[in-house]
Subunit: 337 residues, 2 copies
C-alpha cells in the first residue's frame, strides 16, 4: 500500500477517459470548452486512478504556480517563529509554501547559499521568495522579500528596529550605573549587526561615555563564536561591569563563561542579549534582552510578498518593526567597590 506503483500521469488519465491530455488539462484547470459529459468522464478517471497534478511539470510550463518560497540557512528557534508568522499570513490566500534549506546546522556554510537556492527555486517553482537572514545581496527574476537583510541591501525587506533596541539596552545599563560596558558584535555584513553596534556606540556617546575599542569583541552571531570573546573580556583585570551581546545565543554563552570563571550574574556582572529566543527566559538567571517578534517579521514579509507577486503592493519597500526591551534577572546595578 505504501509502495504504490509508478506515479499516475495525465497521460494515464487521458487514456482511461478516452480523450487527449489537452482535454484532461482543461478539466483539471476548469477551463472553458469541454462538454459536461466529457468532464464527467475525465473526473471519474481522475478519481479511479487517484491522479494528482505534478507540481514540477506544472511549474515548468506555467508562469504562476501559487507557491511561495522561503529560503533559509538553518532551522533554529527563531526560524520556527518566522514560519508561524508566514503561514498565518498565507492562510486561505491560495498560496502554498515551500521552505528550502540545506547544509550545516551550526557549522560553516559556503558563501552565496541564498543566491544559489533562490535561483534554483525562483526560475520556475515559486512565484516569489522570502529570504531569511542572507549574508549578502540577492537578486531574482521573481519578487523577493528579505528578512534581516545584508548591509546596504536594496531588496525589499522587513527588519526589526535594531538601532532603537540596542540604544534602549545601553540606556538601561547606563541607568543602572554601568559605565564600562562590553559589546560582542554579530556578523558584520548583516545590517542588523551593524545597527546594533551603532546603537551601542551612539548611546554611549550620547551619554558622554568614551567608547573603548578594546571592550568590543567581533563575533558572528554563532553562539560558539562568543566563547573566546567573552573569556577575553572577563579575564581582564579591569573587566567591564556589563556585557551586551548582539544575540541571545551569544549572550547565553557569555553567561556560561561567567559561571565558569566564578563571576556572579547579576551581582558582579550584568549580561544582556538581543532577540528574545525562548531559551533566554529559561536561563539562570533569566536573560535581559530585546524582543523582536520574529512572528511579526514573518507575517509582514509574507504579506508584502503576496502583494508584490500580485503586483499590487503600495507600501514602502522597507518595513521596520518596533522592538521592546525585556528586563529580566541578568541585569542589576554594578557592585560598588
Amino acid at each position: 500500500m505504501a509502495e504504490g506503483g509508478a506515479p499516475v500521469t495525465m497521460n494515464d488519465v487521458a487514456r482511461l477517459a478516452g480523450v487527449s491530455t489537452a482535454t484532461v488539462s482543461r478539466v483539471v484547470n476548469g477551463r472553458y470548452g469541454v462538454s459536461a459529459s466529457t468532464i464527467a468522464q475525465v473526473r471519474s478517471a481522475i478519481e479511479r486512478l487517484g491522479y494528482e497534478s505534478s507540481l514540477v511539470a506544472t511549474s515548468l510550463r506555467r508562469s504562476r504556480t501559487n507557491v511561495l518560497g522561503l529560503v533559509t540557512h538553518s532551522f533554529q528557534s527563531y526560524t520556527a517563529e518566522v514560519l508561524k508568522g508566514v503561514m498565518e499570513a498565507l492562510r486561505q490566500s491560495g498560496f502554498d509554501l515551500i521552505v528550502y534549506a540545506n547544509g550545516d546546522l551550526y557549522g560553516t556554510y559556503s558563501e552565496g547559499w541564498e543566491q544559489r537556492h533562490l535561483t534554483r527555486l525562483s526560475g520556475t517553482l515559486t512565484d516569489g521568495c522570502i529570504v531569511l537572514t542572507p549574508w549578502g545581496e540577492v537578486r531574482s527574476s521573481t519578487p523577493v522579500v528579505v528578512i534581516d537583510p545584508a548591509k546596504d541591501s536594496a531588496a525589499p525587506s522587513v527588519t526589526a528596529d535594531n538601532l532603537a533596541g540596542a540604544t534602549a539596552v545601553v540606556e538601561h545599563l547606563l541607568g543602572l550605573g554601568h559605565r564600562r560596558i562590553g559589546f560582542i558584535a554579530g556578523r558584520s555584513s548583516l545590517a542588523a549587526a551593524w545597527a546594533r553596534e551603532e546603537g551601542y556606540r551612539s548611546a554611549l556617546a550620547e551619554a558622554g561615555v568614551r567608547v573603548d575599542p578594546t571592550l568590543i569583541g567581533r563575533g558572528d552571531f554563532n553562539p560558539e563564536s562568543a566563547v573566546p570573546l567573552a573569556r577575553a573580556l572577563l579575564d581582564r583585570a579591569d573587566r567591564p561591569t556589563a556585557v551586551f551581546a548582539a544575540s541571545d545565543g551569544m549572550a547565553l554563552k557569555t553567561l556560561e563563561v561567567a559561571k565558569d570563571l566564578g563571576i556572579d550574574v547579576p551581582g558582579d556582572l550584568s549580561v544582556v542579549g538581543f532577540d528574545n529566543i525562548p531559551e533566554s527566559a529559561l536561563a539562570e538567571p533569566a536573560l535581559t534582552t530585546v524582543d523582536q517578534s520574529m512572528y511579526r517579521l514573518g507575517y509582514e514579509a509574507a504579506r508584502m510578498l503576496k502583494s508584490l507577486v500580485s503586483g499590487e503592493w503600495e507600501g514602502p519597500s522597507h518595513i521596520v518593526l518596533p522592538t521592546r526591551l525585556v528586563i529580566r534577572g541578568s541585569t542589576a546595578s554594578p557592585a560598588r567597590p
Copy 2:
C-alpha cells in the same frame, strides 16, 4: 539589482560558450567527455551569467534529485524541533530539504492533505518524503517515512513510546494520591492519540481504579478544542482532582480555564500534558509533561529515509523512541477535604 531580468537558462550558457546544451549539462554534472578548454569556456560563461540549474527542470528529467521532502500540516513549536533533527541528520549528506506546507494554522483543513501534497512532490521533485502526523494512510511511488502515523498505518514510521509515557503519567498521579483523573483525548484517528488513551486506561485498570467514561473528553490535539472540554470537566460538582491532556497545547488551555474558574493549580487541581513543547516550561505553574524528543523523531526519520532512498535500509520499519516523564510545578497531591 533585486529585479534581475529573465532567468538564465542552460541555453543562454550554451550560446555564450559556443557549445551545445548537452556539453553544458556535462560540465555542470562533472561528466566524462569534455576537453579541458571547453570546460573552462563553459565555466566562464556560467560565471558571467550567474547561471544556476533549475531544480524543476532537473527533477523532471532525472530520477534522482538529492532532495528530500517533508510534508506538514502546519508550523507549530514541535515542527521546528523536528526540522532541527531532520537537518542534523541531513548534514553534509548531499541531500537538500524541501518542506511543503499549506493551509490553516489552527483551523480546519480538508481531509487528505497529506496524500495530495505527497503526490504532488514525490512523482518528481523529491527522492522521498517524511510525513508529519498525517491524518490517514499514505502511499507514494517513492519511499516515505511517517512521524506519528495514523492508526493501523503500514508505512515505515518513527514514533514515541506513547503508551509508556501515558502510563508513567497516570502512575505519577496515582502515586500522588489522585483517584479521579480526567483525560482529554487527541484526534482519535492518530496512533499516538490511541496509545495515550490506552496508557491512561490500562494504568488505571492496573491500579484497580474504575475508568469513568464521563471523565474523558474527546479533543483533537488542537489547543482550542480543549477549552470546552476542560470547562465541562472543571465545572462539575464532583470535578476530578487531576486532568491529563493528551498534548501540551491542550494542557496549557486547561491551565487557562482553571485560572478563569479560580481553581488553584496545583493546590486544587493537578494538570499534566504530553510533548514537552518549550512553552510548557514557561507556563505558570510550569507544566508536568512527557518529553518525546521531537528532535530525535526528526533525526531518526531522516536517517531512515536517507537509507531507504539509497536502498540500503536494514533496520526495522517501525522505530519507537523512549519517552521521559518531566515533573514540574503543575502536579501535587490532592487537597484532603
